[in-house]
């Protein structure tokens, strides 16, 4: 057994840290799209629009039922062979697309459950004052569902941040990809991947702090 090459690790840290913005960028964009898409899917699953409901169920079934890595390969390597306009798709775009679709399927289910958990009297009260179903959903039901779903959604976001590492399989030089390259040059795989692990861990810990503040904010209306 050999000792850790600490100097190497310290030297590697700033190199790898410079890729953190790309990781956060991919996760943040994908999360923003996924939230909107998941909310739309969830609302559809609750109100059940004929025909569309069938497509939504198929969508959720597929993106929950297949591995993220397979989906990324489909988008990046597969689809351009079928659809000419996708030929130039770059790895970052494909990753954001894959993360968005994959996680929106999961998030739709937790948002749907949260919507169903909001007391029926809330939508009745909204309807009684003359709001349309859409207004009631947007202004009364979804905000209350958001509070219930928030911890789960943050969990998915954390998973999403870590899943950006799969972009390296599409040839994107991001956090994981650059660590892989560095390690291949130095042969210090353990050190390199240990630094990567530490960086992801630190990001997630920072997000957990944010989660606590978000939950306090969302619980504001429920403090006695």
């Amino acid at each position: 057994m050999r000792g850790l090459d600490l100097d190497y690790m310290i030297g590697l840290l700033p190199v790898l840290l410079s890729y953190v913005p790309l990781t956060l960028f991919m996760a943040a964009i994908a999360m923003a799209f996924a939230l909107v898409l998941a909310a739309a899917l969830a609302v559809e699953r609750v109100v059940r629009i004929p025909v569309l409901d069938w497509f939504v169920r198929l969508f959720i079934s597929f993106f929950r039922g297949t591995p993220l890595l397979v989906q990324l390969f489909l988008f990046y390597f597969g689809l351009p062979q079928v659809f000419g306009f996708m030929t130039g798709i770059n790895g970052v775009t494909a990753t954001i697309m894959g993360l968005t679709l994959h996680f929106s399927a999961y998030m739709a289910e937790s948002i749907r459950a949260a919507i169903l958990g909001v007391d029926r009297s809330q939508s009745e009260a909204a309807e009684a004052v003359g709001m349309t179903r859409g207004q009631a959903m947007r202004r009364i039901i979804l905000p209350q569902a958001a509070r219930v779903a928030a911890p789960t959604l943050v969990n998915y976001f954390i998973d999403m941040v870590k899943s950006t590492s799969l972009a390296f399989t599409l040839g994107v030089t991001e956090l994981m990809g650059s660590a892989q390259k560095e390690a291949a040059g130095s042969f210090l795989y353990f050190e390199a991947f240990l630094v990567v692990a530490a960086i992801y861990w630190a990001i997630v810990e920072a997000l957990s702090l944010g989660q606590r503040r978000l939950e306090i904010r969302l619980n504001r209306a429920h403090a006695r």
Partner: protein, 246 residues
């Protein structure tokens, strides 16, 4: 003028409302009493389509809707002419007391927010909650929540206010303040249709009392007549039971 006719409603195979007909003049205060499970709440909920009637006509002012083929737009129009006060208050849990009142003014009546807020603050003072506008429902007592519930309905300037057992879910200590507020509305000749078990209150404020049993209006008369000289055996039996308990 509010006019309900031929109103029928079943839940599955169970008929709940059986050919209800009812006229309410502007400014009239009508109280519905009767044993539980006789369709009193369903009647109220059918008037504003929270429960959809199977058949019948509901007319409020110049708006007449055939329940069997009511469109979504007609249902909205009916709801925008009525206010509803729920047994369990049903305040919007994610909105402050003030926002509970402004919500419909802004989203439904398209009032500018500043105007809606000024109106809400006037109503909050009227219902004795001038200092609680920023409180969320979870921080209010049952009585305070129900007063906001009534304030929310008042803000709509509805032609008819519907009260579905507004004090039944309250701890006894809060019942008085809610009844006092309703009394104020009654004195201002707000048109009201109230389902309640508060017999003393009904006697005080009602122009007419409807006694319902088995999905039908059995007796429709001024309070003095209903309470002191009920014509129907069922009315007598019911009043004997509730007065013995009270």
């Amino acid at each position: 003028m509010i006019s309900i006719s031929g109103l029928n409603k079943s839940f599955g195979a169970t008929p709940v409302l059986d050919d209800i007909a009812l006229d309410i003049a502007p400014g009239e205060r009508v109280v519905v009493i009767g044993p539980s499970g006789t369709g009193k709440s369903t009647l109220l909920r059918c008037v504003n389509f929270l429960d959809r009637p199977d058949s019948g006509t509901i007319r409020i002012g110049d708006l007449s809707v055939d329940a069997a083929r009511a469109t979504r737009a007609e249902i909205l129009a009916i709801r925008r002419r009525t206010g509803f006060v729920f047994q369990n208050y049903a305040l919007f849990a994610n909105k402050t007391a003030r926002q509970n009142i402004t919500e419909a003014l802004v989203t439904v009546k398209r009032q500018p927010p500043a105007e809606a807020e000024a109106r809400a603050d006037r109503i909050l003072r009227e219902i004795g909650l001038g200092d609680r506008g920023d409180s969320y429902p979870a921080a209010l007592s049952g009585g305070q929540q129900q007063r906001v519930g009534i304030g929310r309905a008042m803000a709509l300037d509805a032609e008819l206010l519907l009260f579905d057992e507004p004090t039944s879910a309250l701890d006894p200590e809060w019942v008085g303040e809610v009844l006092d507020l309703m009394r104020k509305l009654a004195e201002a000749r707000q048109t009201m249709l109230i389902v309640t078990h508060e017999m003393q209150f009904a006697r005080e404020i009602a122009d007419r009392i409807l006694f319902m049993d088995g999905g039908r209006i059995v007796e429709d008369a001024p309070p003095a007549e209903i309470f002191d000289a009920p014509k129907d055996d069922r009315t007598r039996a019911f009043l004997r039971r509730v007065t013995a308990a009270g």
